[in-house]
């Protein structure tokens, strides 16, 4: 009896291994799912949240920021900072620097939701690694300082 159980256990065990091997060999001949990242790039979803961007209006070449500071207030991490000054007429305020600290940003999109003027958006940039921490502090209204 014991011998019978012994043989049965070996047989069922062996059978179970064969079933597993059947699954893997099926996968061996099935199509691979690799996406070869630097070569094949995917189209980012429309809602993809990359880093914060201050787009310029293609026609006027100006940004839409009205310095309402809603985005700065909405940011949980103090990632945004707006430096402003009085304009030439001494009354209107002018955006000097829209400072964005990518290093502390969690890409939560609260600032974009807070903006009533569609002045900022999350762009589709996902390759945000840099060699230096300094490069993570961006000044969004000066295109020259943007990485790449």
């Amino acid at each position: 009896m014991g011998l019978f159980i012994w043989i049965r256990d070996i047989a069922t065990g062996f059978g179970s291994l064969l079933v597993g091997m059947g699954v893997t060999i099926k996968e061996f001949f099935s199509k691979d799912v690799t996406q070869q990242y630097p070569d094949e790039r995917w189209r980012m979803a429309d809602r993809f949240r990359g880093r914060v961007d201050l787009p310029l209006d293609p026609l006027s070449g100006a940004h839409k920021c009205t310095l309402c500071m809603m985005c700065v207030r909405a940011c949980p991490n103090d990632s945004l900072e707006i430096v402003q000054s009085k304009g030439p007429d001494g009354k209107t305020r002018v955006l000097d620097k829209y400072i964005y600290k990518l290093g502390t940003c969690t890409l939560c999109e609260l600032c974009v939701e807070a903006c009533n003027f569609d002045a900022i958006r999350m762009n589709h940039d996902y390759e945000m690694a840099t060699y230096d921490r300094q490069e993570l502090t961006l000044i969004l209204n000066e295109p020259a300082t943007r990485p790449r």
Binding site: W6, M21, I25, E27, S30, D32, V33, T34, Q36
Partner: protein, 374 residues
């Protein structure tokens, strides 16, 4: 006095070398070389030394190439099992990947832990390689094509293949790392246990073939491979041999000495650079050896399959083809199964494989006594 230069047609020689390398080497090259060396006054000892050196060089090249190909093959096979592409950046289909790996490993610093037992730590990788080379000496790649054909070849293999454990044990002990130590200890227990059932299975083949010479075992399979010539015992024997062999070379699902999720890298945790790659090399060559021995013992070695012999495909092609097949199965094991636990591993050997191989041996003995093998 050198042997008189016979009319020697190079192309005919090449053809013979390609079709029957064993006969070409022993029939033409061997005597010519012997004549040349004796003529130089080196004598038999000198001749043997030169031949040994040549064999070593050839086998070194063979080992290097095989191991490189196997690293790539393993990664590719793994990738296909996992729905990936595998290495495909270096060269077409990633064919040059192993070279890139070697270059990378060569550039790496060869670190030795401060607390390590230095001489043993440095020596350990080489012991493993030596054991591997020693087994390779008797494997028949084709008719008459092996480094040497010992009368006691099978016994020699059984004796020498256990040497590899020494390397793992030395590495594990000398690394001054508890993970390495655990890996080494596991390996010692594992390899010592798993010497038994393969030995018994080999014994059953010996019993059936009536010879201890590896070449002769293959010769005997010219009509029928042992796999079916030995009846059900052939299949059972091969399964036992493959399982135990996989365990003996520490491959998944029996890769306990280097169980990644438990011991990080086991006995070679502390190794880096070329010394690390020596272990890898030995591991891949051991896989080749187990596959080659399985082929030799059960799948007719370089013997072609049945009527396909009339195709005139050279024996070594058959040999390597079959070996590749068996190696694929071993890789297939690795990429399918979870790892067994250390005590279950022992249980598998002592409670299942060993009794099975004893039964197998007795059955084969009866089978042989009934006169089937004759």
């Amino acid at each position: 006095m050198p042997a008189s230069p016979q009319p020697f047609v190079l192309s005919a020689f090449v053809v013979q070398l390609l079709l029957h390398p064993g006969a070409a080497l022993s029939g033409t090259v061997g005597p010519a070389l012997k004549g040349l060396l004796l003529g130089l006054g080196l004598g038999d000892t000198g001749y043997n030394a030169v031949v040994a050196l040549l064999c070593f060089v050839v086998m070194s090249g063979f080992v290097t190439v095989t191991a490189l190909v196997l690293t790539l093959a393993e990664r590719k096979v793994a990738a296909y099992f996992q729905n990936r592409k595998g290495p495909n950046r270096v060269g077409p289909w990633g064919l040059l990947q192993p070279i890139a790996d070697v270059v990378k490993l060569l550039q790496k610093e060869d670190t030795v832990p401060r607390a390590a037992d230095r001489p043993i730590f440095l020596l350990a990788p080489f012991i493993g390689m030596i054991a591997t080379y020693m087994v390779l000496a008797v494997i028949p790649f084709d008719q008459g094509l092996s480094v040497t054909d010992l009368d006691l070849g099978v016994l020699y293999i059984t004796a020498v293949s256990g040497l590899g454990v020494l390397s793992i044990l030395m590495a594990g002990w000398s690394s001054a790392n508890k993970y390495s130590l655990l890996g080494g200890l596991r390996s010692a227990a594992q390899i010592v246990s798993y010497e038994l059932s393969p030995a018994l299975v080999v014994l059953s083949v010996v019993l059936f073939s009536g010879t201890l010479s590896v070449q002769a075992i293959v010769e005997k399979q010219s009509a029928q491979w042992n796999l079916w010539h030995m009846g059900p015992m052939g299949v059972l024997g091969m399964l036992i041999y493959l399982t135990a062999g996989t365990a003996e070379i520490n491959r998944a699902p029996f890769d306990l000495p280097e169980a990644e999720s438990e011991l990080t890298a086991g006995y070679h945790t502390e190794y880096s650079g070329m010394r690390f790659s020596m272990f890898q090399l030995a591991e891949f060559m051991n896989m080749f050896i187990i596959a080659a021995l399985t082929v030799t013992l059960f799948l007719g070695g370089w013997q072609p399959l049945g009527l396909l012999r009339f195709l005139g495909v050279p024996g070594y092609v058959w040999f390597f083809g079959k070996t590749t097949g068996v190696m694929f199965v071993i890789m297939w094991f690795r990429w399918t199964f979870p790892r067994v636990r250390v005590d279950q591993l022992m249980k598998l050997e002592w409670k299942i494989l060993l009794p099975l191989s004893f039964i197998n041996l007795v059955l084969v003995a009866l089978w042989a006594a009934a006169g089937v093998g004759k």
